[in-house]
Symmetry: C2
Subunit: 370 residues, 2 copies
């Protein structure tokens, strides 16, 4: 077990993110100091369980920790209310106590639903996150967001709830489909673009190594992304100010995802990748950002294989009014105004609350006809 | 509008409990400083809505605050998961934003479900509580507990979530059935018994005035109960230590309620009243408490009309093994041991983790045959 770690101190609670190769095989040692009651309850999905559940349970056993496993279907539909109710019921069947611990083993969906469940079972029991996708390792590890979907929209029901520990095992990325890896990589790039230009430079040089599974490069990319997120979230845990920068590209992305009904046509990370390009282009259009910076981002995308425009997505046709309509329904709307994160260049994003929808429409018209 | 108020500072948040007569008619003024987004969402039940909803909405209107009302069925079944899901859906239909506010208008059930909903809608929006029963005015106003029931048990799903404001209007108690008023009064007595002997003395002298609806006496009783709870909860918000004293009588009470399936045969407050007598008797049986103190509590119960023993409840027969079994399932169990709150006398309770179940069985045998 080789690993590096960072400490996250948010909302009077404190936890570590441990990043390294082969950590699941040693998870028992890592979690033992935090577990005071058995069995721990592992929540995972069918895909992840097939690959990693035995290793995790064996490691827990070696550390003398009994565990029960609850396996959900993989995919976004696991965030539906009915599945959540059934998850709560399965957890209560195990007769948890206040001192019980849930371990979420899986991608963002599992992290979100298991985290939400932990936050409401007996009014809150401990959760340890073992994210198994690049996206969840860099994005869900920090910030404590949990949530489920309803017919009204994504993540409209949930809590802010900090884990006791996050274990990001880079070995889990070896079996991740390349498309998923790339989608997660888009969120890594986001940290460079939103406020850490030297990290973006590092990615320009090392992005290919990251995506080829180089363990040192992966570890550096994950740690740097998590540190960046901690820095932004630290003083803004309830998302009232600077934390909004983390949504760079996301207003566009959520709109694109809503239009494709959050299906497999367009992964969240792919939508974010395109959304960030749109945010750069809108900033250029408004005279806020040099066109060269937008070009440099496009060039990096192309060098690693990220989609740079809507043409990369297999959708019959896009409707500007529909995309605008989705934006208006985003939960970050306040008094009917849509907030955008715009940029003055690579690493220099800012919150813009007064963007005219006419300008956004013009941008979308260009993006669609490109 | 005449009122008194106390300030509650818990978990880095701070709110006021305003207690007085006729407050709903002036609720608009009270909530206006806290409401930044309209409409506010009133959650209530059919019984309470018929009496108080118009007054509340008129008062809000006069303060320039638009409101939408969601009316649930009255009764404990409103804490079922399906009703909760439907409540969330009704709230989302109103398209709330992060700055939205829910007002819970009703008894403990409404406070619990509306509070839980507020804590998870958009990961947490503001909640203002207007409790309309004596029980909810003294018990639910402080501590931030929210929750719903599942087939596994009561309040096994929920959150700790502090309100922005609590408005306890003693006028609402004028229309409360006397049995409900008495059940709430049991929780008032609890504060005297668990740690405030001078308050118990005051109740011995003024309990009848409280129960006859004397507004000054009610106001004093509610404020003193809330202050007592604040004092206990303040440094123990997540219920690890002294807060357990608030459960005086409750281990017995929950067991009795489980056995009567939380039906109308036995109200929560009635169960708590009997449970506190049992806790006194167990303490006497164990040689911890003078028999005179238990007799004094019985005498006060009899003077106001609270049930003193199981004979007061119309149940065919009680089973000691069944009652013990329910205790073992209580969520405060840790490593299989049931924790009891025992007493050394009026106002001198303490947490006992090492009570033998044999002693509890003996106590229950006596209680059943009495």
């Amino acid at each position: 077990m080789i690993n590096e770690k960072i400490t996250v101190a948010l909302d009077s609670r404190c936890y570590e993110i441990v990043v390294g190769s082969g950590l699941i095989a040693d998870a028992g040692q890592l979690v033992a100091p935090l577990v005071t009651h058995s069995p721990v309850i592992i929540v995972t999905d069918t895909n992840v369980a097939a690959i990693h559940a035995d290793a995790l349970q064996n490691s827990l056993n070696e550390a003398g920790i009994a565990s029960e496993i609850i396996t959900l279907d993989s995919g976004e539909q696991t965030k539906e209310f009915s599945v959540f109710e059934s998850l709560l019921s399965s957890i209560l069947d195990i007769a948890p106590e206040r001192a019980s611990t849930i371990i979420a083993l899986g991608g963002g969906v599992i992290g979100d639903v298991a985290g939400f469940a932990a936050s409401v079972i007996l009014r809150g029991i401990d959760i340890i996150q073992i994210p198994t996708t690049l996206l969840s390792q860099v994005d869900s590890s920090v910030g404590g967001k949990t949530g489920i979907n309803t017919p009204h929209g994504k993540n409209l029901i949930g809590t802010f709830y900090q884990p006791r520990l996050v274990i990001a095992d880079t070995t889990t990325l070896d079996t991740l489909p390349r498309r998923e890896l790339l989608a997660g990589y888009a969120e890594v790039v986001k940290y460079g673009l939103l406020g850490f230009p030297e990290f973006f430079e590092w990615l320009e040089q090392n992005g290919t190594a990251v995506l080829n599974g180089d363990k040192d490069a992966l570890c550096h990319a994950i740690l740097t992304s998590c540190k960046a997120k901690v820095e932004i979230v630290a003083n803004d845990e309830r998302e009232s100010g600077q934390r909004a920068l983390l949504n760079f590209g996301h207003t566009f992305a959520h709109s694109l995802e809503a239009e494709t009904e959050y299906g497999r046509q367009l992964l969240h990370g792919e939508a974010v990748a395109i959304g960030m390009i749109m945010a750069f282009d809108l900033s250029v259009q408004l005279g806020l950002c040099a066109a060269d910076d937008a070009s440099r981002v496009r060039a990096h995308y192309q060098s690693v294989g990220l989609p740079v425009d809507l043409g990369a997505i297999n959708v019959g046709g896009w409707s500007v009014p529909a995309l605008i309509c989705h934006m208006k329904q985003d939960k970050k709307v306040r008094d009917g105004r849509v907030t955008f994160i715009l940029t003055r260049g690579i690493g220099d994003t800012f919150i813009a609350k007064d963007v005219s929808l006419n300008d956004v429409e013009a941008l979308l018209e260009n993006a669609i006809s490109a």
